[in-house]
Structure formats: structure tokens, C-alpha cells
């Protein structure tokens, strides 16, 4: 196959990727878009086998390459098919990490292959890919471990941590410069090891609630490494595909940060400056109004408008289906039901929408924060299921608390607030919620699924 035809097919694949992203502008065309993207990727992969590089000739080692692809499919497909929707952030982090690792390996091999013939630009792109690819690899693996709760989700801060990270970063940059001057393999090895270490140090101090931002940032990183590899390998397809991913990761990271009301750098380096929170245990003694499932059912049945605010607790209890049953029951009684979704509900951007879609909640009922907030003053009951931080008024009223400045769902504007909670334990961010002590608030303690089931059966009696 000649060069022009090969490049042309690469262009077709790149267009497929653009269409795949474009399809996501509405849920209707999204699935078809994704399939177009997969077709593009397949075409690009098949075509490369038939391409004769004028300088290198055709590909060698074909049987081994095919075996490696089969191994990848055997590992990847079952993982993708079996994963629980609640575990989606971990899987995305893991896939992102292996992508970053692959990009770094490709850059290393191509660098060794080029040897002294590498141009300044190629060495620069290799250094970038190895550095960022390695950070993305270990950073994503650590993110996976945190989300899978194989290690603590709290920020890991050790004495002098800031100085250590600064020193390692300096060493990484020094090694990068060394590779640029010496173009040897020892310097590249040093750069690889230091970058891998930096990826770990970079994610360790990030707390559980901020992990989604890190995933999306690392996703952008991996995209850029693929783009840089495209430059080294002279492949327009890799360049375009990597750049698209870099752009999408950057936009998502910015959106996430603004949804949390914090600057990106503040999140990444927040753990270094965070001071331990003053003990809030004194508040535990204050009275709260707890209700029975029947009380909750009565409140809901006589409401005109109910907004359900789901949090990750709902997903942990696997209560998506029960909450939909409740919503259907209320709708049948003539109650207007909507879901108020905070952008960071769940553990990655838009995660809660996926979890509710899994339970067949029509996406038309899922309302974004900007859309639902003005309606809370006309809402009779806000039903908060397994969420806490995203409705905590402290984000508006208490300067200095970790979530201060984060836009929240204004459930405190509703006539009544019902919290379904397992206990009085504060949320992921570890902050007391004043709303729990408000006289208009009713608490129903217990597992979200059990509580909802009881409310549903109480409602059926009416």
C-alpha cells in the first residue's frame, strides 16, 4: 500500500473520531457516534499491517503482534463487559493508565531505534511522551487503587512531602534536559524511573473527593502523549486523535474544577496546605428530627413537586431501581418528580446520570444544577438520598471550610427536606452539615435501599 492511500485512510479514521465525539452532543446519536469511532479505530489498526514504510519496509514479527492483540482483547473485553457501573471511574482510570504506559513504551522503543539519527524535535517529543506517559501510568494506577479502596482514600501527606515532590520534579526536569543533551539510553532510563515516581507522589496527596479531577487531567495527559508520538512516528492520525483527547480532557477538568468552585492547582496542591479540621464532635449532641418511613411517605404523597437529589450513597446501596420505582409511583399519583444532579455527584463527571440511566430513568427527568436550583423554592419536598456535601449550605456560609465556594444544590430552599442517610457521619469531604439540624428537615436512617423500599410500600397503602 502506498503512502498516500495510507495517509488518506488515516484521515478517514480521524474524521470517525471527530464524529464519535460530536455524537455525544445528545444522548440520541451518542451510541451510533461511538460505533463510528470504533470502526475508525478498527480501520486504522487493520490498515497499518498493509503499509510499507519506504525507509523501513513492511512489518516484521506479525504472528507475535497478532498474539499480543488477542491477549489485549481477552483482557480488555471481559473487564469492560463485567464492570459495575459504580466502578466505572476505576476502570476508566485503569484504561487511561495502560494507554499512557503504551505511549511511553512506544516512545522509548522508537528513541532506541532512531539512536543518533534522532532530530532535536524527535528527542524533545520523546522526552515529553516518556515523562508524561509515565506520570499518567503510575498516577492512574494509584487513582485506581484509591477508588477501588485498595488503599486509603484520604490524602496521604508525609512530613516534608512538599519538599520531596519539588525535589523529584526538579530531578525529572533535570533528567529531561540530560536526555536532550546526551541522547543516550542511561539518561532515558533515569528519566523513566523518576517520572514513574513522580506520578505516584503527584496523586498520593489528592483526597478521594478530588480524584475525579485527577482522572480527567491524566486523560488529557495521555492524549497529549499520543499526539507527541504521532509527531515522532509521522502519523497524522495519532496527532489528531491525541489532540482531540487532550482538548476533551482539558475542558472536562476545567468544568469539574468550576463545579467544585476551586482552582485546578488548588485541588492538586490542596493537600499540602490543608490543615487538619477542628474536631466537630461537639455538634453530635444536638437534636435532629428523625422520621419513620410512613412519615416520609405522607410528606411525599401530599407534595405537588418533589426533587430527588441522589448521591454516591444511593449507588453504593444499589438503590437506583428502587428510587425509580418510588418516582414512578409518585408520578402516577400526580406528583411532579425531577432528579437534581450535581455535576460531581458520583465519582467522575456525569457519573450519576449513568447510574440512573442504568435503572431506566428517562434522561429527560435528569436536571442539571443550573436548571433545578431556581425551582427549589417551588418544591415541596427535596428528597436527598445518600448525598451530603453537594447540598451542604456550609459551602456558602462558612468561609474556610474545605468545600467553601463549591456551587451546591439549594435544597434548603425547599419547603421540606428529607435525608436518607446511613448515619450522622459526615460526607466524603468530612464536613458537618447544618441542614441536618434544621427544623424543616426529616431524617430517615438506614441503608438507602431498605429505607426506599419501606417508603414505597408505605406509599402503596395510600
Amino acid at each position: 500500500m502506498n503512502n498516500n492511500l495510507y495517509s488518506l485512510i488515516g484521515l478517514i479514521a480521524a474524521v470517525c473520531f471527530i464524529l464519535a465525539l460530536k455524537g455525544l452532543s445528545s444522548p440520541k446519536g451518542a451510541r451510533r457516534g461511538n460505533i463510528i469511532g470504533a470502526i475508525g479505530a478498527t480501520i486504522a489498526t487493520v490498515v497499518v499491517f498493509f503499509y510499507n514504510d519506504p525507509a523501513e519496509g513492511g512489518l516484521k514479527n506479525l504472528p507475535l503482534i497478532l498474539i499480543a492483540i488477542v491477549v489485549g482483547v481477552i483482557v480488555g473485553v471481559p473487564a469492560a463487559r463485567k464492570v459495575q457501573m459504580t466502578a466505572m471511574p476505576q476502570l476508566v482510570a485503569l484504561f487511561n493508565g495502560v494507554g499512557g504506559g503504551a505511549a511511553a513504551l512506544v516512545a522509548i522503543v522508537e528513541y532506541l531505534h532512531l539512536g543518533d539519527q534522532a532530530s532535536g524535535g524527535e528527542v524533545g517529543a520523546t522526552v515529553f511522551t516518556v515523562l508524561v506517559g509515565c506520570i499518567s501510568f503510575t498516577g492512574s494506577i494509584l487513582t485506581f487503587l484509591k477508588l477501588q479502596e485498595l488503599m486509603t482514600t484520604r490524602p496521604v501527606v508525609f512530613p516534608g512531602g512538599r519538599a520531596v515532590i519539588a525535589l523529584v520534579l526538579l530531578a525529572v526536569l533535570g533528567a529531561a534536559g540530560w536526555v536532550g543533551v546526551d541522547k543516550g539510553s542511561t539518561s532515558l532510563l533515569v528519566l523513566t524511573v523518576l517520572s514513574l515516581a513522580f506520578g505516584i507522589l503527584f496523586v498520593l496527596p489528592v483526597g478521594g473527593a478530588d480524584v475525579p479531577i485527577v482522572i480527567s487531567l491524566l486523560n488529557a495527559f495521555t492524549g497529549l502523549t499520543v499526539a507527541a508520538t504521532g509527531y515522532v512516528l509521522d502519523s497524522t492520525l495519532l496527532l489528531v486523535a491525541g489532540t482531540l483527547v487532550g482538548a476533551s480532557g482539558t475542558i472536562l477538568t476545567r468544568l469539574m474544577a468550576s463545579a467544585m468552585g476551586r482552582p485546578i492547582l488548588g485541588i492538586l496542591f490542596g493537600a499540602f496546605t490543608a490543615t487538619p479540621q477542628a474536631a466537630l464532635s461537639a455538634a453530635d449532641a444536638r437534636p435532629v428530627k428523625s422520621g419513620s418511613p410512613d412519615d416520609v411517605a405522607i410528606l411525599l404523597a401530599y407534595a405537588r413537586r418533589v426533587v430527588i437529589v441522589p448521591g454516591f450513597g444511593l449507588a453504593v446501596a444499589q438503590a437506583q431501581h428502587t428510587v425509580r420505582e418510588l418516582a414512578d409511583l409518585l408520578t402516577a399519583k400526580g406528583v411532579e418528580v425531577a432528579y437534581g444532579i450535581h455535576p460531581v455527584a458520583g465519582r467522575m463527571p456525569g457519573h450519576m446520570n449513568v447510574l440512573l440511566a442504568e435503572a431506566n430513568v428517562p434522561y429527560e427527568q435528569l436536571k442539571e444544577m443550573e436548571e433545578v436550583n431556581p425551582t427549589f423554592s417551588q418544591t415541596d419536598v427535596a428528597l436527598v438520598v445518600g448525598a451530603n456535601d453537594v447540598v451542604n449550605p456550609a459551602a456558602k456560609t462558612t468561609p474556610g471550610c474545605p468545600i467553601y465556594g463549591m456551587p451546591i444544590l439549594d435544597v434548603d430552599q425547599a419547603t421540606n427536606v428529607i435525608f436518607l442517610k446511613r448515619s450522622m457521619r459526615p460526607g466524603f469531604a468530612g464536613i458537618e452539615n447544618e441542614l441536618l439540624y434544621d427544623p424543616r428537615t426529616t431524617l430517615l436512617f438506614g441503608d438507602a435501599k431498605d429505607s426506599l423500599t419501606k417508603v414505597v410500600s408505605a406509599l402503596k397503602v395510600f
Binding site: 479514521a13 471527530i18 464519535a20 460530536k22 455525544l24 452532543s25 444522548p27 451510541r31 461511538n34 460505533i35 479505530a41 486504522a44 489498526t45 497499518v48 499491517f49 523501513e56 512489518l59 516484521k60 514479527n61 492483540i69 491477549v71 489485549g72 480488555g76 469492560a80 463487559r81 457501573m85 476502570l91 484504561f95 495502560v98 494507554g99 504506559g101 503504551a102 513504551l105 522503543v109 531505534h113 482522572i215 499520543v226 499526539a227 508520538t229 509527531y231 512516528l233 509521522d234 497524522t236 495519532l238 496527532l239 489532540t243 482531540l244 483527547v245 482538548a247 476533551s248 480532557g249 472536562l252 455535576p343 467522575m348 463527571p349 456525569g350 446520570n353 449513568v354 431506566n360 428517562p362
Partner: protein, 100 residues
Amino acid sequence: MSVIALLSIFVLAVFVGFEVVSKVSTTLHTPLMSGANAIHGVILVGAIIVAGHSDSAFPLTLSLIAVVLATINMVGGFVVTDRMLEMFKGNKKPAAKEAK
């Protein structure tokens, strides 16, 4: 290809990327992330090229590992995105359609 040509493609791709992604509805941010993730799995093409040009055991081993990792990234990414998007069916009742 010349550096300038590649740079032009890069800059244009940045604009296309920002343009397309900023229109993605927030409801679909998770599939967007996993879909974009699958797209960077196209590094598989690069991994196949370097594996196919390897003459000795060490670079071949490294590049075959890259092929495995990139395949997991690409195939797994598209499959899981498809699984998610399949669930966003929306309200299928005919009444809802008329309301629009």
C-alpha cells in the same frame, strides 16, 4: 512531513476538539471521558509500527507489551462506552414524543 505542517494540524485539531467537546451535554460526561479514553487507544497503531520494525529481543518485548496495553485501552474503552450509551434510551412513551 514538515514540522510546520504537523504544527498546523495540531493547532487545528485543538480548535476542532474544543469546539466539538464543549457541545457535549453534561449528562454524557462519563461516556465522553471513556470514549475519549478509547480514542487515545489508537496508540495501538504506533505500538504495531514499532513492534514491526524491531530487530532485537529487548525493543520487541517492550513494543509487544505496548501492543497488549494499547489493545486493552482501545477495545475495552469502546466496549464500555457502548454499554453505557445503550442505557441512555430516554423516554420511549409515544406521549413524550408528541409533547416535543
